[in-house]
Structure formats: structure tokens, C-alpha cells
């Protein structure tokens, strides 16, 4: 569905005119759609993107937003020069392994560790720099820029955005009973959306029993 179609459906379900709404402006409904997209991204974790991080000499900590402003959380860090996946570790484990690991530099990093929502660190830091990490990450959704824009989700998940928009509309009307009911329906759809993005992609596996 396009943004206009989503907007039309939300307004219609809120009993307002889709073409000349009275109680909600188009901008308000578009904000609802965007919030719905964010909630979907947080719960379904289906928006996956990739950014490339250049290795810098002597650098352990990388600010993710520098390379990917829409990053929510990376789920894979791949050393492109060595074709190797970096393993997750914590600073406490590094402390237990080597007393002054903060000062260590090496040829290539083996591990990566978290340092707040903005930073990740790699260990050991490269002494010479050059080359890239491939950072695969869960992303926040891009705002729909015009009426013809479509959400990045699979089409079956677009209904959830409509429901969420209606839910927000009902909250503005202080209709908490119906709003809660709608939110329950939205949450119920997340399970299906997660499956659609995950295990159901393997439907065509050799070992998968065929359904009809």
C-alpha cells in the first residue's frame, strides 16, 4: 500500500473523510503511520540494512551513526579483508583475558563489543588501518516522503500500520477501551510478521514439509 492508501484507510476507519478530513490533518495521519512503522521496526525487527565501516589505524571505538544514521542495532560484523565474522565479547571478558587490552593493537580484530547505544568497539584495533567492516544492522524505518511511497515491509504487514494508526486516533478520542482492543490486534500480528521475516523464508527448504 502507498502512503495515500494507508492514510485513506486510517481516516475512513476513524469515520473521517479521506479526501477532506475534518478531525485529523494529513500531516497528523502521516505521523501516525511513521510511528506505526517505528513500532513495527522495534517489534518485528524485519528491516535489515548494511553499511560499510572503514578501518582506521589505532581505532577501537566506532560511532555507528556516522556510517548509518538509521541504525538500531547491528546483528553481524564482517571483516571483509579476512572474510571472517567478528564474535561478540564484553569488556569484562577482555579485562579478564588481558590486563591492558585497551592498549593492544594488532593486524586484524577478532571480536566486537558494545559500548552504549552509539558505539561499538573492536578488539584488537588495527595498527595500520585500511579495509572495511561490513555492518549488517536492524534499521529504523525511513519516513514515507510522498503519497506514492510504500513502506519497506512486506505487503501483508501493511494492515498492521492501518490498525496502529486507528489505535492512535482512538487514543486522541480518549476511547481507551477500543484503543486497547485494537492494540491487542496489532500485537497479535507481530508474531506473524516475525515469522514471515524469519522461519517462513525457509519454506522452500528440502527438509521442509510442503503445505498446500
Amino acid at each position: 500500500m502507498t502512503r495515500l492508501e494507508l492514510q485513506t484507510r486510517i481516516l475512513r476507519q476513524l469515520n473521517d473523510s479521506p479526501t477532506s478530513p475534518i478531525f485529523w490533518s494529513a500531516a497528523e495521519v502521516q505521523d501516525m503511520i511513521q510511528e506505526g512503522q517505528e513500532i513495527m521496526a522495534e517489534e518485528v525487527r524485519a528491516l535489515r540494512k548494511t553499511a560499510y565501516v572503514p578501518k582506521r589505524d589505532g581505532t577501537q571505538l566506532y560511532t555507528m551513526q556516522t556510517f548509518a544514521p538509521d541504525v538500531m542495532a547491528p546483528y553481524r560484523l564482517w571483516d571483509m579483508d579476512l572474510s571472517r565474522r567478528l564474535e561478540v565479547i564484553t569488556m569484562a571478558e577482555l579485562d579478564a583475558d588481558r590486563e591492558r587490552w585497551l592498549e593492544v593493537t594488532g593486524d586484524q580484530p577478532f571480536w566486537w563489543y558494545p559500548a552504549g547505544w552509539t558505539w561499538f568497539g573492536v578488539y584488537p584495533a588495527t595498527a595500520t588501518g585500511g579495509g572495511w567492516f561490513r555492518m549488517d544492522y536492524l534499521a529504523w524505518p525511513t519516513a514515507l516522503l510522498d503519497d506514492m511511497s510504500e513502506p519497506e515491509w512486506p505487503e501483508p504487514d501493511h494492515d498492521g500500520l492501518v490498525l496502529y494508526g486507528v489505535y492512535l486516533g482512538l487514543l486522541q478520542q480518549w476511547d481507551i477501551v477500543r484503543a486497547t482492543d485494537l492494540l491487542t490486534q496489532v500485537v497479535a500480528r507481530w508474531t506473524d510478521s516475525r515469522a514471515r521475516d524469519g522461519i517462513r523464508r525457509l519454506q522452500a527448504s528440502l527438509w521442509q514439509r510442503e503445505g498446500n
Binding site: E93, A115, W117
Partner: protein
Amino acid sequence: MPTVSADLDLCQRFLRDSGTIWNRTELLEFYQDALRQLCARSQAARRFVCLPVPPRWTMSGTYAWEQHHALGGSFRKLTYSYRSTTRETTALWAIESAEGLTPTAAFPGVTQLWEISHTTLDVARHYRFALPRNHERIAGLWWDHKRLWPVTVRELDAYDTAWYRQSGEPYFWTPGLGESRSVEIYEVETTYQQAYAQTDLLGLPRYITGARTYTQTYEAGQQWRFAYTSPGELADGLESTGLRITRDAVSGRQVLYIWEEEMAAGATTFTAASRVGTYAFEALHSAATVTDLPTGTVRSASSPDRQYVTTEPWAASVGTVRAWQSSELALLVWESVIPDKPAITETEVPEILPGPLQKYLRYYVLFMAFNRQGEGYNGNLAAHYEQRWLRGVRLLKRLGDITWMDQKFQRQPVARTARRIPAPQLPSDFPRVRG
């Protein structure tokens, strides 16, 4: 990211109120509380900060009430309290004296703890380091890049020694006894370590010197505004950045070429000199290349041997360096923080959070607004928004550990596996040991 003002506008739409029941100031206060709560409860906003050794406190004072004059900085009371804290003294013997006892030779007093570095006397004071004002909690603490492990005061007390003034290399840290936003280390390292210090407390760092070698890089093509030959020309009203093209004055004269200098010195042979240029383009006409004019201030620092990081990685890269710290032979604190004062205003953006999480700040505002006693109270809506807000707290807590998605099944600790020494198996007829 929308501004706070835009968020509050949206809140007012959900409240269906334009300031009659909940005025804008009240909503802004809820918003500020939400931001502080979200950071504190999620601990997701983390940064590195260095504390120099020995510790520096913003202000030392005689009475606790003087803390008010530290203006939000750290405050250390240098005196000992006695007689129900109505009296303060700098030396313990005064307490004995006040009670009519014979005074004992007592420990010397110091105003600032860094003074301990300059005395060989035994100063019986706890060696405490002040933490920043917006500190929330410590996630890790290193001294000279070596991890210090947390211990309690009770564990240290078990040594039955004056652990708080035991000098040596630090191995542990403890919340200790004293101000809440401060820590102690054990053992105590009092050697004075000077990292970076601004020689003039005003303005920006212009020139960095030290044991390490610093070079600057700058964007090429920045030119001098004019060229001049003698300082007198500046007195004639030339302003802005000018390039002096003459050499050092010889006999009161400004000379352009080295051979002029040699001639004035009475030489009979002269050094050939290239043409002096005044603007960069003159290099095309055989003039010596005119150097660029580096302007502005330090924007970034890098080294193949170590990393220089900003203390607020979530903030936009604007502004300039105000303080320059080193973790070498100092305490490096990895801490979670809350927004610093002054509190956020309507024209600002809560950068300390990921943008999409701003909606949870709005939920908190709505929760508090509907929960407030008075005309606008609505318990059901308040409960609903509270649940939405709490979900945001949980989400940000999870985002604080950004590796959570990559931790399933493949985590491999590199720590050495602790091996337990097997218990000895004694034969059944081994004689019993009697205590």
C-alpha cells in the same frame, strides 16, 4: 529529530487541551523528567571520561553549606565535624582539646587532595575522586588502562589496616565513604600526573605541546588576506590576517632576501635567493610557494597508537574542544549518564536518545498529565500510557547492549577458564587429623 516543542504540540493534541488544564511549563517539566528517567533506567547513554590523578575537586570548603557556592561542581568538605557537627576543625587534635583531653599529635590537614602529592606526611583522608554532575552509574573503571574491580568498604575493612591511605598501585575501586558522586581507589596512587592543561583558561586550544609529537592538517587553499613588510604597516590600519614576507630586521631595516641580510652584515659573497611571493598564485611566476593560512580550531585528533574520542558520542559534531584529557596513568571511567544541566528546552532536540524513541518521552508526558490530580485526571488513560512508557524503557535498555542480536549460540569468551584444583582423595585408613 523533532524538537521538544513539536513533541509537546503532539502531546497537547492527545490531551485535547491547549494549555487550559495543563500549561506548557508543566508539560515541559514532565518531558525533562521523562528524558532523565529514560536515560537513568535504561543506562543506554554511555561515555568515557577521564579523572586525573591525584583527584581535583571544584571546591573545598569548611562547612557543608558552602557546597551551594560550587555552582553544581564537585565539593569536598575539608574539615572534621564534631560536637553534633556544629563545629569544624582541620586537625583531629582540636576535637580532643575541645573535650578537655590532652591533644595527640594528629595528621596534617589538606585543602585539596592533590596536595597529598606534595607532602611526605601521612594524611589520614579518604582519597576520593569526584564524578561528573550528570553521572548515573559506573559501568567500568580502569587505572592506566588496567581494570579496577569493585569491592565494598566492608571487604576492605577486613584488612584491619588503614586501607584508605595505603599507597601503592590501584587494583580495586569502591563507592567508599563520603559523597555519592565520588569513588575511592585501593591502593592509593598519589603521584602527580599532569596530562593536558590549558595554559590560558579562556578561549580555545590553539597550540598543543607535550611529550608526544603533534602535527596539524588543514584544508588547503586558505589564503592570507594581505602581505606586509614591517609591523608599522599594521599600525597604519591593516586588519585581519596578514603574512609578513620580510626576514628579521637588520639594523632597523626590513629585508626581503637573505643576501640583503648578508650584505648588511658586510659579507662579500651572497646566497642566491628565490623570489618572494605574497600570494599563492605567484608560485606560477617563479615565486617561492606561499604557505596556506590555517584558520579555525581543532576539529578532530587521531593517532595510530591510540584513539581520541569525544565525551558525548550522541551529540552532533559541532563546537570545539573545551577540555583535553588522557587516560594514561589516570582513571578512565565508562559511565552511564543522564542529560546534563541546564535542562532541555523547547527549541532543542533530545540528542542523547535515538530519534525514534522520542515517542516514549511523549508517552511519559501523557502518563503524568493524565495521572495528575485535578480536572484532567483519567486513571485508565494514565495506566495505558504508563505501560507504553515502560515498554520504551525496556527497549532502550536492550539497545544499550547493541550486540544483543549477535549473541545467540556463538558467543566465545576469551577469558581463561578457571580450573578448580581437584580435592585430594585420601585412603580410607588415613589417620584422622585432630584439630
